[in-house]
Amino acid sequence: MKPRFSLATREALWALAFLAIPLVFFLFIRIYPAFQALWLSLFEWNADPAKRHYVGLEHYSRMLTDATLGKALRNTVLYTVIGVPLQLALGLILALLLQSVTRLRDLFRAIYFTPYITPAVAVAWVFSWMLSPNFGIVNEVLGLLGIPAQKFLTSPAQALPTVTAIVVWQNLGFQVVLFLAGLESIPRTYYEAARIDGAGGWATFRHITLPLLNPVMVFSAVIATIGFLQLFTQVVNLNFTDQGGPVGSTLTLALYIYQLAFARFQLGYAAAVTVLLFGLILIITLVQLRILSRRVEY
């Protein structure tokens, strides 16, 4: 008997069948609930679905006068604006240095990658001790250098930059791996040609490395931005009994949503803030993709 479909069609059908499973997963576990949040944001929450009454845009108008939300929004933007460039710049510098290292290369890479696979909770705990104004090793060292003890996480002014630095430190390993992969993919011949033409180190970096790293750069910027916009775990654990403190100085949108929903049971309003965060991420990502991914001319 002759098969009903050709081999190629059958292969394609199989591929589709396998793709359908994650597709169904994304549709029902990820995308459908996301749209449900949109719907939920128009209702006053109740455990009993029959008692959820429609409030229209009330939650959205409440956002306009919510000072805590304003602070969370401002902090979230600050985290992103400081964190993303820092992470990209440090990641690139480290990747360039690591690329020129020939001995013990893998060991160095492993060391830089370790923070990324360390649980954020453990990192937060160790850092809150290291940065303690009274017992921490960091202030001990600063003292030896004649610098007065800093309050770091316990100061409303320093807490946000400190948290950002810790998150960058933790993400750096992954960032370095991305850049290393990008650097490896640049053909050696370009550098050789440039050297023959007499181009110096800066010129080759500026005109070969940077432009050819652009795809990695765009990917990293988008992923890092989304990561900082959704910052949660580190903030929760770095000041566990006053989450988002001191004085709300480290509060993020994601943490505020969590507090509204699960400490205050205002799930309708929390859904509205989630929609705001979703919109923010969507707009920023679209803008980034538009600005950053210009066609590169060699």
Partner: protein, 411 residues
Amino acid sequence: MKKLLVAALLALGLAQAQQVTITYWQYDFKSKVDTINELIKQFEAANPGIKVVQQTFPYDAYQQKVASAVAAGQGPDVVNLYYGWLPTWVKAGYLQALPDELSKSLDTDFIGMVQAAKVNGKYYGIPTAVRALALFYNKDLFKAAGIKNPPRTWDEFYAAGQKLTVKQGNRYTQIGYGISPDGQDHNVVREILVRQAGGRPYSDDDRKVLYGGPEGLKAFRTYTDWVKKYDIGIPNFFPGNNGYRDGFIAGKIGMIIDGSFAIGTIRDGAKFNWGVTEIPIDRPGARKANFGSFWLHGLSPLATGAKRDAALKFLQFITSADTERMWLERVGELPARKAILKDPKLSTDPIYGPFVVGLSYAKATPFVDEAAQRKVMVDAINRVLLENADPDTSLKQAAAEDQKILDQFWK
């Protein structure tokens, strides 16, 4: 043979039909979980038709689980919660009101602060145990510093605190009092210092914030002066969760104000002589005040029909006088029934005594949204201690924010 099998199956089916299974939820705390397991055994033996399943979750994930599970119809029938969460839970439909028969016993047999388990005049839960605050002090450090007695007035408290504070340059190596705005200190300000100054934190109908008034401002300045004027401690001396308690257990902090729930942890951890004394007052004979609080067991909307009857039975069982005695022994928490609290053996106990005495004049703050209201006061304190804000301005801002939370809730 076949007939016999059918009969056996029928009998089994009948037994199944009579069997009711209810679920009890609480957060993970070993002595509480073990005691409830034992109580379940006793309860099931006395009530053959009812099976009780206990499920526990880590404290941090607890409310999140309740929020999603009850809404999905999969959650607990009887659920344990902090009294401060009650109004938000009731408003969001996570609890059902208790029948009137139970309310009467709550009014007459239980300590007065359980009134805080009422929303709009109806009870929504019953506690097994209650807690109050007291001053823990390190007897060895007191002795080394030449302090004879634990402080009874705030002036004695400052004097002891200053003697116990040790600095090396600008860094503290030991502090007299474990300042902790996000520990119990926000309760100390709201419920103890404001009342000692002659004020009230909230109006009796719980619609108005009153601590922004002159008594409140005086109380707030008194508290922030512990750091600013008397220098008996600094916030965040020890990092981590409950750093003030860890610092006390490590022998680096002379005194802390903490709840009776901390007795077990301190007893297990502290390697020195320590004692407990009542919260200090302005001068001998001055007004006393204390912050009382409790966890209670409520009925979720999932408990209906036969399950509701079984859940109510279980609820009464785990809040009975016998259970409360067992709870005190096993978990170390103070009973919520007046009659058992009157036991002189309890009020003269060197550790439990000061708490029991404190309970007699303690009030449970009528929170409507504890998480948000706590943050308002913690931020008010931290603005002064960490950002050098003016105490009056900071507290007035807090009172306005708190009022907004009350208005939002009662709207």
